[in-house]
């Protein structure tokens, strides 16, 4: 049986299963076995988040309008980061903002902390008014943001992108050109829920972001195309619910995967997936997930990729 250990953007990982930003508070519940802990998105100023109701169940998924509730850069660095540093796994800190400068300030401060292995730039949160996602819908803005932030740290920068754009691979390419070391795909898909009794918007934020198995096909599509266009390493996230999903995400182009919404239902899932992976890899005739990465791109020469690339 092969090993699950891998390396992602220069960070050594015991296995390829992480958590999605904003879907695990390791200070409240522990790491649940993830090989690297990804923090909830931190912004320059503290944010209370959106008023309740913040979550709605949907067919094989949920819509959330948390609204980037977080303690702000200052308190995060002073109070949270030192405790996160003691978790014993590499840290990936997610940052968000409303302008290039806000991101740059956060990246400089966070990137300077020795416990931080990499930074994730969230340019894709659907639950805030401007900022974040408006950067992430514009390739030029995304490129400029990455360039600006690259100047602030030696740590690898990952760009987390939204699938709710006309062509996510164009944004991914811009991120690559700006100096992103890797991509995180996908953030939630824009969605909305209506209260079945009052017929009013159910969520306090009005709209929200759809996650869970429902969006798995959307994630696979984004990963496949961004991989084809950029060749960057990818954290695959979006509806991953079992070891088999990890293989499918890897084949589409993800080097490692992150569990998000699935953790809410089962905090033991990371350990279950990690336990199941070696056997599943063996059944597929390979010894590591790396052997599967990008396999869907090498079909019948390159025919399929070309057919599909035309579609975007």
């Amino acid at each position: 049986m092969g090993s699950l250990a891998t390396r992602f953007c220069g960070v050594d990982l015991a296995h390829p299963v992480l958590n999605g930003s904003g879907t695990l508070d390791a200070l409240a519940a522990g790491t649940l076995g993830v090989s690297a802990f990804v923090t909830k998105t931190v912004t320059l100023n503290p944010r209370a988040g959106n008023p309740p109701q913040r979550i709605a169940e949907t067919p094989q998924g949920m819509v959330n309008s948390i609204g980037l509730a977080n303690p702000g850069l200052e308190r995060f660095c002073d109070e949270h980061l030192p405790r996160l540093a003691d978790l014993g796994v590499p840290l990936i800190v997610s940052g968000g903002g409303w302008s290039r400068e806000e991101y740059a300030v956060a990246v400089r401060r966070i990137g300077a902390h020795p416990a931080v292995a990499a930074l994730e730039l969230n340019v894709s949160c659907p639950n805030v008014d401007t900022g974040c996602i408006s950067i992430g819908t514009d390739p030029a803005e995304t490129r400029a943001l990455l360039e600006r932030c690259r100047a602030e740290t030696e740590r690898p920068l990952l760009a987390k992108l939204s699938p709710s754009v006309a062509d996510v691979s164009a944004v991914a390419l811009a991120a690559a050109e700006g100096g992103a070391a890797g991509l995180v795909l996908i953030n939630t898909v824009r969605g909305m829920a209506i209260d079945r009794d009052t017929l009013q918007p159910l969520l306090g934020g009005g709209g929200g972001g759809l996650s869970g198995p429902a969006v798995k096909p959307v994630a696979l599509h984004a990963i496949f195309h961004c991989r084809a266009v950029t060749g960057l390493p990818i954290v695959g996230v979006g509806g991953v619910a079992c070891a088999q999903d990890c293989l499918e995400f890897a084949s589409a182009g993800a080097n490692v995967v992150a569990l998000g919404t699935a953790l809410f239902r089962n905090p033991g899932l990371v350990e279950e997936v990690v336990a199941e992976l070696p056997g599943l890899l063996e059944r597929h005739g390979v010894s590591t997930l790396d052997d599967v990465v990008g396999r869907a791109h090498h079909h019948q020469g390159k025919a399929l990729l070309e057919v599909d690339a035309n579609h975007s």
Partner: protein, 241 residues
């Protein structure tokens, strides 16, 4: 620190008037304290209920964990039809059991949480229960044979107002409007008051930030801070969300 998750067999399901009692065979696992809650999901995963449901135990010990359910939607319907249930918990903070006399106030399915409390409270207990209709009130027998039961249009705050001031702690669970009224009455008479609250929850263990409630004047996670809170922590602001 990671919450405990296990699969338990359903021992029995009984109608209790309009509500349903779901009793799980416990495997000797931890059950926590009255007021704590569990995230439950029918196993195998039911169609139409992607997320687990938050439920407070009606009572629990090494042998069994019981829940009183208001079966409203797909998740609770699947639970009362299941042969086994996946159970995460105990979660959150339960009631701090004060010494001395206790006044228990339950509204509707909020009463679900009280049987265990009645059993464990060290001092004398007075129980006040309010329900919509008689068929909901049937569960009063599970809680306290001597309970004062009122039906709409009478609100449970009426008998409570007659009892106050009192040298007692008030333990309340029920709809938000009732909790606010109970908290206001207790504040007026400077009577200590603990509220078991509800919010839409996706995870129950602090991961999703979905269960925000205005606590200490800020949106905080009910699953971490509560679900049982001192009334003073939530009365102050009065959120407008």
């Amino acid at each position: 620190m990671p919450p405990d998750r296990r699969t338990l067999q359903v021992a029995r399901v009984e109608a209790v008037g309009a509500y349903t009692l779901l009793v799980l065979r416990n495997d000797g696992g931890e059950v926590g304290a009255p007021g704590q809650f569990f995230m439950l999901q029918a196993d195998p995963e039911p169609h139409g209920a992607y997320l687990p449901r938050a439920l407070s135990a009606a009572w629990a010990d090494a042998g069994e964990i019981a829940f009183l359910l208001d079966v409203r939607g797909d998740g609770t319907a699947a639970l009362v039809g299941a042969a086994q249930v996946s159970v995460l918990g105990p979660l959150g903070h339960g009631f701090e059991l004060h010494h001395g006399p206790a006044i228990l106030v339950g509204g509707g399915i909020g009463a679900a949480i009280l049987p265990w409390l009645v059993r464990d409270l060290p001092g004398p207990v007075t129980t006040l229960l309010g329900f919509r209709e008689q068929r909901h009130a049937v569960c009063a027998a599970l809680i306290d044979a001597d309970a004062t039961v009122v039906l709409e249009p009478t609100y449970v705050t009426e008998p409570l107002a007659r009892l106050l001031p009192a040298d007692a702690t008030v333990y309340a669970c029920g709809p938000d409007a009732m909790l606010q009224a109970v908290a206001a009455l207790c504040a007026e008479h400077a009577v200590p008051c603990l509220l078991a609250m509800e919010a839409a929850m996706a995870c129950g263990f602090g991961a999703c930030y979905g269960c925000a409630v205005e606590i200490d004047g800020e949106w905080k996670r009910l699953c971490i801070e509560g679900p049982v809170l001192e009334a003073g922590r939530v009365l102050a602001g009065g959120h407008d969300g």
